[in-house]
Symmetry: C2
Subunit: 708 residues, 2 copies
């Protein structure tokens, strides 16, 4: 049931004189935040934000600039509207069964000062929540601007004067698969320079720039997450840093002609978001980004089903010379070559017999789905990335008997998950899209993992330029029309659009678990992602890595994952996703069958969530209630330092006893030296229990709490 409580305050009309600064202000419902906004002496709009009586964002400019018109100065305030809203809504899936959307809104209606030759109009709409601020530019229909060739925004975030701790990755038009830097304004230049050349797909930005979601910890400290919500029909936003001024400014991703976007009015930009609190847990709990997105546009959502899955994937990553490709003939050409005439290379795990083993495994362990990568024609040479046709999405390799696999999976109650790697050829993916989705449905597939590795085609575009943002939305809409769920990799970073399109179950859009086989992820990485990347939506991080020593696979592999085994279980709580992988090989799960039991049990959809402890890059402890039962689950992780998690179970219903099954690091566990040492024990707990749970260095704990 939705609650709605909208208080309309009387609109306040201020007809102002040009050249005189004016300001308006509102406070958040609880009074924690106070926003001031207005225009300065040059008619430039600005805002500032106080938190608990102290300046959080200093007076910062607003506006945007196009070839045809400049919406960044010469304005007066024509009118303001304020409204208070308190309502709630029910997501199709997620961390909560109901989400409160409670804010004070201020719409600043700007017009060019009297006497301007070609007067313009713009509204800046602010929504001030108890966990932060969102604002966007609304460009209404108007006489003197209809089309905009967008050159940039004048949106700034003045965080000075004190230095702050910044958790960030470098600005880049084409990838976000980076480890975070923990740095400061003073050291930001050095930190960002150190990334040069570290990612083959990087199209790094010329200036000192970082990506959002950016996490800032001020001297106070206040934790601040800066991001955007509802990125649609517009380029993604990076943040250019002025390190001396302790400030950031919006940097819109251009196309290769240098244009940031092509707009027809009316148009509303994405929301620029600032989530802030002096309690780090509030950053994790914030639903501000989802609240700023449009309600669900899919009428019947009954076919959207959160799921866990295993996949023919890690085999290729871990070595053993296994390949996505069926043959070693790198000259094979989809649609031209008769693949059945090519000899198999014998190292192609996406073959019928092997996939059947994954189906068997999934069926035995109650895992919903099996993802198979490397099933279709085109992988032999896919690293070349320059072809106008790389893959066909309706041509299985000769050793992948799609019909019998679908039947076999169906007979076992398992769903097959399709893979559509595009080699970043979004143009050709669109060319094949309807056929690809129809083929999926013909073959009984309801979910697809998409991928965009490489340089984008159309060659005018970047991964996060306006056209690609449009492309991503197009794919999601067409998928919804076909009742297909999507997990997209290398797509524009999420901004809460999964509220509007809940078939967009997950995205990668950050450095994921796969990097444990490519240099490793330090334990701090997953203590940061929930503060940053996850504020846009769920991540397909691919947890569940039990064999953390990649030398297990021979072939000269030396990678060691930055995790204990118990911590991998905890990730199912700290990295929630409605499309959650168990990434490791069945053989490794069979070696640790008692631990795998947790992955079998853990839900992927929740009715309630409580963040119990949190410090960015250090530790996270969270409790979640299963949407389908009365069970609670708790997960806690730490960085490279061991610690004692303080787990207060007061969220349990008073007076009720629960059996806790605890998957914990063994006393001698350490992610570097003894990662697979874990223990499983049970305990009886209730709402008065306060567990003091030791976590190994790089370790974690996972618990299931069942009512007795």
């Amino acid at each position: 049931m939705k609650k709605s409580n909208i208080l309309l305050l009387p609109a306040l009309l201020i007809l102002a004189m040009a050249g005189s600064a004016e300001a308006e202000s509102i406070s958040s419902p609880s009074g924690n935040f106070r926003l001031e906004t207005g225009v300065d002496e040059t008619g430039t709009p600005f805002y500032s934000l106080d938190y608990k009586g102290r300046k959080l964002v200093d007076k910062s400019t607003l506006g945007l600039v196009a070839d045809e018109a400049a919406f960044d100065k010469g304005f007066v305030i024509a009118a303001t509207d304020t409204v208070s809203v308190d309502r709630s809504w029910e997501p199709v899936w997620g961390e909560y069964s109901s989400i409160r959307d409670h804010f004070k809104e201020l719409a600043l209606h700007l017009e060019s000062a009297p006497g301007t030759e070609r007067p313009l109009k713009m509204t800046v709409r602010f929504r001030l929540f108890d966990d932060g601020l969102g604002f966007r530019y609304e460009l209404p229909l108007q006489d003197n601007a209809n089309y905009l060739t967008l050159r940039g925004e004048n949106t700034r975030f003045e965080l000075g004067p004190e230095d702050a701790t910044l958790f960030c990755i470098p600005g880049d038009y084409d990838t976000d698969e980076y480890l975070f830097s923990e740095t400061s304004f003073d050291k930001l230049g050095e930190a960002m320079a150190s990334y040069r050349g570290r990612h083959t797909e990087s199209q790094a930005v010329d200036c000192l720039s970082v990506q959002t979601p950016l996490l800032v910890k001020t001297a106070a400290p206040v934790y601040v997450n800066i991001h955007e919500a509802a990125l649609d029909g517009y380029p993604a936003m990076l943040l250019d840093a002025d390190a001396g001024a302790r400030s950031f400014s919006a940097h819109l991703v251009p196309d290769r002609l240098g244009v940031r976007g092509y707009l027809q009015l009316p148009f509303n930009t994405p929301w620029r978001t600032i989530i802030a609190s002096d309690d780090a847990r509030d950053i994790l709990a914030s639903q501000l980004v989802l609240n700023l997105n449009e309600p669900c546009k899919i009428e019947d959502t009954s076919w959207i089903k959160p799921m866990k899955f295993v996949g023919v994937w890690w085999e290729m990553f871990t070595g053993r010379q296994k390949t996505w490709a069926y043959s070693d003939d790198y000259r094979a050409k989809p649609g031209v070559t008769d693949y059945s005439s090519l000899p198999s290379n014998g190292r192609h795990p996406a073959n019928t017999a092997n996939v059947m083993k994954y189906i068997d495994f999934a069926a035995t362990h109650g895992i919903d789905g099996v993802l198979v990568e490397g099933w279709n024609e085109g992988w032999e040479d896919w690293a070349s990335f320059r072809k106008n046709r790389q893959f066909l999405y309706d041509r299985p390799y000769p050793d992948f008997d799609i019909d019998s696999l679908t039947s076999y999976a169906a007979s076992k109650g398992v769903k097959m998950i399709m893979h559509h790697e595009t080699a970043a050829n979004a143009a050709d993916y669109e060319r094949q899209l309807e056929r690809a989705f129809s083929y999926m449905k013909e073959k009984g597939y309801d979910a697809v993992k998409t991928g965009y590795v490489g340089a984008i085609i159309p060659r005018s575009e970047h991964h996060t330029s306006q056209w690609m943002v449009d492309h991503a939305r197009h794919v999601i809409e067409r998928a919804a029309a076909h009742k297909i769920m999507v997990d997209s990799h290398e797509a524009p970073r999420p901004t809460g659009l999964c509220r509007t399109w809940p078939n967009w179950l997950a995205q990668e859009s950050a450095r994921g678990g796969e990097f444990e086989s490519m240099g490793g992820n330090p334990p701090s990485h997953t203590c940061l992602l929930p503060f940053t990347r996850l504020k846009g939506g769920p991540m397909d991080y691919t947890p569940g890595l039990f064999e953390t020593d990649l030398s297990y696979y021979g072939e000269g592999k030396t990678d060691k994952a930055g995790t204990t085994l118990a911590r991998q279980l905890a990730l199912y709580l700290t990295m929630p996703s409605p499309m959650q992988m168990a990434c490791d090989l069945p053989e490794n799960y069979e070696r640790f069958a008692d631990a795998f039991r947790f992955i079998e049990d853990v839900p992927v959809d929740w009715s309630d969530t409580r963040y119990l402890e949190a410090e960015p890059g250090r530790y996270i402890t969270v409790a979640r209630r299963d949407k389908a039962s009365r069970d609670w689950y708790v997960g806690a992780i730490t960085d490279e330092n061991g610690r004692r998690a303080e787990i207060d179970l007061s969220f349990l219903p008073a007076g009720e006893k629960y059996t806790a099954t605890i998957y914990e690091d063994a006393p001698d566990a350490d992610y570097r030296t003894n990662p697979q040492a874990y223990r499983i024990r049970t305990a009886t707990v209730d709402s008065r229990t306060k567990l003091r749970q030791p976590l190994a260095a790089g370790g974690g704990v996972a618990m299931r709490l069942q009512p007795k």
Copy 2:
């Protein structure tokens, strides 16, 4: 019935030494042409071409160059194959019911000279016909090159040493809607410079460049048409001129990153074609370009039906302030604006009542179809061309009742023709393509006119760059899958692909009849198009203009068409197309109903064709036999000078009498002063008749010959 007579000559293996020039030669079946080819001292492949014992193309280099490998020097001849072929095939529609494909072929197999570090392989395949030469590069699978980032071709056409007359339009990446220059090498620079700024959509080339099909008249004189056949997966070719050397070299259209194409081997380039004869009529009769294209790829072609059509189109061109747009609100936004809430501008001819009049007219006069432009949402601001979404292809304007119009047309035996203007947003057209074609079929449409006015989106592309060539092929293939016939405007110029995809009935791809309302086309223009543009395939020129004085429409219009009325009838013979418009308004046809009778009668598909007289830019006289009857039709046109056409009817079956209905210029007709003066008379003729038919200045004659 197909005849096939293939003689395999023994392959000749020549293992040659590096550094020594070698050559091979073949002659055309009749011996008219002699080709010499080989490699010079630097291992650069070359060819030369003799015609009737005289040099036509001097020794000219061959080859292509990519970032990864250079296929233009260091070669030796590894082997040669020759074969003689004599076969015929039956086109689905066209000028002939059967086409003879008769040539001597020489395949020059090149390999890098012994000792080359990374040896390459390339075959140059020549087909020498009695009407000219085709050759292409075949890049086989090989060890040292698999992907090519193409930078250009080294293909040259050395036409010196004497100067020649050139009939050409300027090199341009984005438009071919130009009048021809009749010039010479010496004056080419001046002639091409005069085009600057004459076409708003021009993306003119930096160097001295012309487009194909290019017509050259040598001093001899020999008439030479240079073009290409089977342009597929490759950029279009312009010709750069070296005026001093009297030579042309291939200039491949780049994308905006400067790359000419992205190839995966094996790959065969389009054929480069040289049609030549000392009799200008042979250029018109040549089927060389079609012969070099692949056979039809559509199995069931029964749904492909040549047709005549009228259209709601000229009303908008001629003024009277009529518009493609439904409303005057240029801010309307397809998919966002509720068009039914907008007031109609009252000047929108694509409305139900008006379209019904066209349907009535077509039904009354036996015209097969009615094309309606401006029927769908998006026209209000379409001249802005920069939006990521301009049109929707399944949203009729509120005053266009598509269902009742389809029913009404069906009840009258008339087919509706859809219009898909894309504003050059090929990317969004692909996004909507399946839906658009499905919608057409749902609504009973079997044919579509497409358009690409403006700057291409994807913004990395030009109208004729590789990606757009791919796009055009994709649209045709998808149309074929939906059993849809296509008439494409502003698409890459045709190269005979209509043999392979006979649902590609016509293209614009040149300056068409619409320009009679935008400055006019001189009479010589249509005396040149059949020698140039039409060698690639039929043109949707839109003949049938009866009201040649545009001041008829008021609104300050002063344009006068470069034609008499009788000449407009002749164009149905001299500009043959299986999708042929009668462009004028029903009201004008009703004013000249006796003349319109010819348009009612004239077929659009032929079993035989005889070119009786021809001189480029001066005059053309042609006779064609109806595919569906024993009737012959004759058409003759002249340039701005009156002349007497010599029409030798010896093609008629001996001894049979025919009634000729002759639509001729009146004695006092003149395209400048008295264009609408025509006479219709009948005569009895037979195979011994030689008509001496006067044509007015800018005039013509059209005849129907029916067996008595």
